[in-house]
């Protein structure tokens, strides 16, 4: 009888395994899965120097490419929706099987009053997705009893069991998965998830005025489970000679009151008890910079917009750079491979204007035109040719129009040593498409830039190419 039962179990488990592996019951790849795929892909060829852990505030609030360009190292954001510090700890365990960062930065809104057992609804759903996207079987086995109740094990380990209802409620997804072809994406991805471009509007500001802050710092506590996880995380980092730093992604100044209480709690815990630095951008709120435009337009849970993330990214990277704890961090700005990986990516030219070998000879950023803001204009020295390059955010351009557009500039230059004022027209570069921008470029071997006087983005199909 035992043999018969074993045979039946093998067939049943084999069927489950096959359905899971075929991904017939998977939902569309979301950023949770993309992030884990991303870290595995990145670490297959590169090292991560700075690993950032946290929750949705982190992957919205930190721009890893900007941080990498600024600090001259490889940064990856491994944050999960609704992530707690317990999740961070177990995700870190798996991350350390594929990389050995010199520093790990942990966002401290993950240190909250929640416990894994209390997760429900969408929080539980994201937990399943996070677990599902991980690959290390041993680490997943260790994690299972810490994240899930025994009744949830099957849902956690098997996508087809968790989504078996698709057979009745979402057959389109199954059909889509059946026809899906694997798309190989070579774009550089470091864990970011851009969601919010516009900031808080008057309607929400009025609610702050009438109802007051949404959060009371006095009520923010930390559960025992999170405190234990913090200790485990610190022990893990210390055992691996990895430097931890902690930071807070802020919310809008009117969103929270009595933050002092929360800050004292965190400071006593992280700085006094454990002796590590806490970069708290809420406590030291830069009112002149962190305007309403920097935050998501919601009264409740609040994330940073693209603008806000740039500010915080620069703040955090500067804090890390100036911290004595950054001594062990590498500086890859002398590494051509690193430059090749990042140039053309966001903030690269702003943070690397003059480098070894004069690779980047000129840069100007945030050039405002009639129809969009050009992120950066630079002159790059390739092996045998000099290139003028302009980077325009994809959000400013219709995908269908991109190849018809041209960046036209009136510039003061030196041509063969002689100062001149000329027009330069940069067409679309279809060979180099970073994740978030389109590149417009031409070779410019004899040009030495002095000043950009005027810039325009023109649709060559609609108008005559002239400024």
């Amino acid at each position: 009888m035992l043999i018969k039962i074993v045979v039946i179990m093998i067939v049943v488990l084999g069927t489950i395994y096959y359905l899971d592996a075929s991904k017939l019951f998977s939902f569309d790849e979301d950023h949770v899965e993309k992030r884990w795929n991303g870290i595995y892909k990145f670490t297959s060829e590169n090292e991560i120097d700075l690993l950032i852990l946290g929750n949705s505030k982190t992957y919205c609030g930190i721009n890893p490419k900007t941080m990498s360009s600024r600090l001259g190292l490889n940064t990856f954001v491994l944050a999960t929706p609704n992530g707690s510090l317990t999740q961070c700890y177990y995700n870190l365990r798996e991350a350390l099987t594929i990389c050995k960062p010199k520093m790990v930065a942990i966002e401290v809104t993950t240190l909250n009053s929640s416990t894994m057992a209390e997760k429900e609804g969408s929080g539980k759903s994201f937990l399943y997705k996070d677990f599902d996207a991980r690959r290390n079987i041993y680490e997943k086995v260790i994690t299972t009893p810490k994240w899930f109740d025994i009744e949830e094990y099957a849902f956690a380990w098997s996508t087809s069991i968790r989504n078996h209802n698709f057979l009745f409620t979402n057959t389109e997804q199954i059909k889509k998965n059946k026809e899906k072809k694997e798309i190989i994406n070579n774009k550089l991805y470091l864990g970011r998830y851009v969601r919010f471009t516009s900031g808080i509007e008057d309607s929400i500001l009025n609610i702050y005025e009438s109802d007051g802050p949404a959060v009371d710092g006095d009520s923010l506590t930390i559960s025992d489970e999170q405190l234990n996880s913090l200790q485990l995380l610190i022990d893990l980092l210390e055992d691996n000679n990895i430097q931890p730093v902690f930071f807070t992604i802020p919310v809008y100044k009117d969103h929270i009151e009595n933050y002092n209480t929360r800050y004292e709690l965190l400071s006593n815990l992280i700085e006094k008890k454990h002796g590590y630095e806490l970069f708290d951008f809420q406590q030291f709120y830069q009112e002149d910079m962190l305007t309403a435009n920097c935050f998501e337009n919601t009264y409740g849970n609040q994330h940073m917009t693209y603008l806000g993330s740039l500010i915080i990214t620069y703040n955090l990277s500067d804090s890390i750079q100036n911290s004595p704890q950054s001594i062990g961090l590498p500086n890859r700005k002398g590494d051509q491979v690193w430059h090749n990986m990042f140039y053309g990516e966001e903030s690269y030219f702003y943070n690397n204007p003059m480098i070894l070998g004069n690779k980047v000879l000129f840069v100007q950023n945030e050039i405002v035109t009639e129809n969009c803001t050009i992120k950066e204009v630079g002159i790059v020295q390739e092996e045998k040719v000099k290139i003028i390059m302009a980077k325009i955010p994809k959000s400013c351009i219709l995908d269908s129009e991109k190849e018809d557009l041209e960046v036209q500039m009136i510039v003061d230059v030196k041509l063969k040593g002689k100062p001149q004022r000329i027009q330069v027209n940069l067409p679309f570069n279809k060979y180099h498409i970073p994740e978030e921008q389109y590149i417009y470029s031409i070779p410019a071997n004899d040009i030495e830039f002095i000043k950009i006087l005027q810039t325009k983005v023109v649709n060559t199909k609609l108008s005559a190419p002239t400024i």
Partner: protein, 484 residues
């Protein structure tokens, strides 16, 4: 711990493995520990109630047997009744009783504000108290001798396969089995496992899927009475589905209990015998929740006099029995009314039967179908009181139920494919039940070749996993990221 849980899927094989590995004399210890663990995994502190009931009834049983007068025997029996029914009353009926008095006094403008206990109803209390009561009552009437082994008695009271939802076992039938030497018998164990598999299939794939629609329509919580948003055909289909949900869910649970016990070498009584093929109301009650029906027959109806004290008394006894049966199912007047309604149906049956000749004519299939349809109609109608949250809700359903207004059929929680699937399943179950009346389907399957049998087992397991109605709240397409 529920039968249809991952916890049980791990618990049961471990218990079975240890059971057959242990010598016979220690097996009751394992079963007792396993049963207490089974119960405590729900709410640990409530094990005290089972222990209290066990100790009182074990002692009372011995005391009744050893009492030298009928008066003393009665006293000990009364103690057993008082403790068991007292516990049941406290946890299940205290608030209902007080609220009923309050509402009655309010009719006469008398203010009465009783304290409510709002105690969590211990799972299975209605089942195990009746099981232990049957023990002391049977000792009192001299039908059985008391058991002198406290451990085995405790195992009888708490035996996990039937602890929380029956069948309610009589001591005379179950206790001797703890003394039987049980060896691993392939056919018996296989039979038990197949019965469990069938139970899981019926519950998880069919009954729980019917529940989705029923719960959507009949939903009535503190914030809103969703039932009032439905009318016409929605009410009809929900009430129709509930009739099958109740049968399939309960019979499945019984089958899993009986199957699990069979694997361990115990024979539990059958609890359902294809009730929707009953040809009359009285036939129905010989087929539905048999262990409870016979309990009320033996410990309420017959002691009241049954049908032996004249027609009038007979009818009163029927009404009392069914009223109590109704209240046993739930502490509300809805359940009482449900019970009384079925009592009245049976009374009508009594009058119809008195007019029949003694010879029963042979029934054709069509006539049988018609008879069972009438029984189901009456039964299904009474179940509206059973399912509705309040009396007003039940009246609302009766006033608004019809076969018109099918437009919002797909807004009741089931998709088109689910409706089709449910339809095929219900028809299949109905047909299989009929076939089972004539033929033993288990023997039929056992006679097929091994490939067919394995295909059936594997298909059933995969259908439970992939077509089961569970985990709706965990699938990936439920949630969007926008809050995180």
């Amino acid at each position: 711990m529920l039968f249809n849980s991952f916890h049980f899927l791990i618990f049961f094989p471990i218990v079975v493995g240890l059971y057959y590995a242990l010598p016979q004399k220690f097996r009751w210890v394992l079963l007792l520990i396993a049963s207490y663990y089974f119960y405590m995994s729900w709410k640990a502190e409530y094990i005290i109630l089972i222990v209290a009931s066990t100790l009182v009834d074990f002692g009372a049983g011995l005391a009744i047997e050893n009492a030298d007068s009928k008066k003393r025997k009665k006293l000990w029996l009364f103690l057993s009744l008082f403790v068991n029914l007292g516990l049941l009353f406290t946890f299940k009926y205290w608030d209902f009783f007080n609220e009923s008095i309050r509402d009655t006094l309010n009719l006469f403008s008398i203010q009465f504000d009783p304290s409510t206990l709002k105690l969590l109803l211990p799972v299975g209390i209605s089942f195990y108290t009746f099981q232990t009561l049957s023990y002391t009552i049977d000792i009192y009437y001299g039908k059985i001798k008391p058991i002198k082994h406290l451990g085995i008695f405790a195992t009888y009271v708490s035996f996990f396969p039937q602890l929380v939802a029956g069948p309610i076992e009589r001591a005379k039938h179950l206790i001797p089995q703890f003394y039987n030497k049980v060896v691993f018998e392939y056919e018996r164990v296989k039979n038990g496992l197949l019965l469990m598999l069938w139970g899981f299939f019926v519950k998880v794939v069919i009954a729980d899927r019917l529940a989705i629609l029923v719960n959507t329509v009949y939903k009535h919580d503190e914030s809103h009475n969703y039932l009032l948003d439905h009318t016409g055909a929605s009410l009809f289909i929900a009430s129709f589905f509930f009739m099958f949900q109740l049968y399939l869910d309960f019979s499945a649970y019984s089958n899993i209990a009986i199957g699990a016990a069979r694997v361990l070498g115990f024979d539990l009584q059958s609890n359902f015998r294809r009730p929707y093929w009953a040809t009359s109301i009285s036939d129905f009650w010989h087929r539905w929740h048999i262990s409870l029906s016979t309990w009320f027959r033996d410990y309420v109806y017959i002691p009241l006099g049954g049908n032996k004290r004249g027609v009038k008394r007979h009818l009163i006894n029927l009404l009392i029995t069914f009223l109590l049966s109704g209240l046993w199912h739930g502490a509300s007047w809805n359940f009482a009314l449900w019970g009384v309604l079925n009592g009245l149906f049976l009374i009508a049956q009594v009058f119809i039967d008195r007019r029949k000749t003694s010879k029963k004519p042979k029934t054709s299939f069509v006539k049988r179908l018609l008879q069972s349809a009438i029984v189901m109609l009456l039964w299904g109608g009474s179940l509206i009181f059973f399912r509705a949250q309040t009396f007003d809700d039940a009246i609302y359903v009766f006033q608004n139920i019809s076969l018109t207004g099918w437009d919002n059929l797909y807004e009741l929680g089931l998709t088109v494919s689910e409706y089709k699937f449910v339809f095929y399943c219900l028809v299949s179950i109905y047909i299989l039940d009929y076939i089972q009346e004539k033929k033993d389907l288990y023997k039929f399957l056992a006679g097929r070749n091994i490939v067919i049998r394995f295909a059936v087992y594997i298909t059933a397991i995969l259908m439970i996993i992939y077509l089961g109605a569970y985990g709706e709240d965990v699938s990936d397409n439920q949630f969007l990221y926008f809050q995180f």
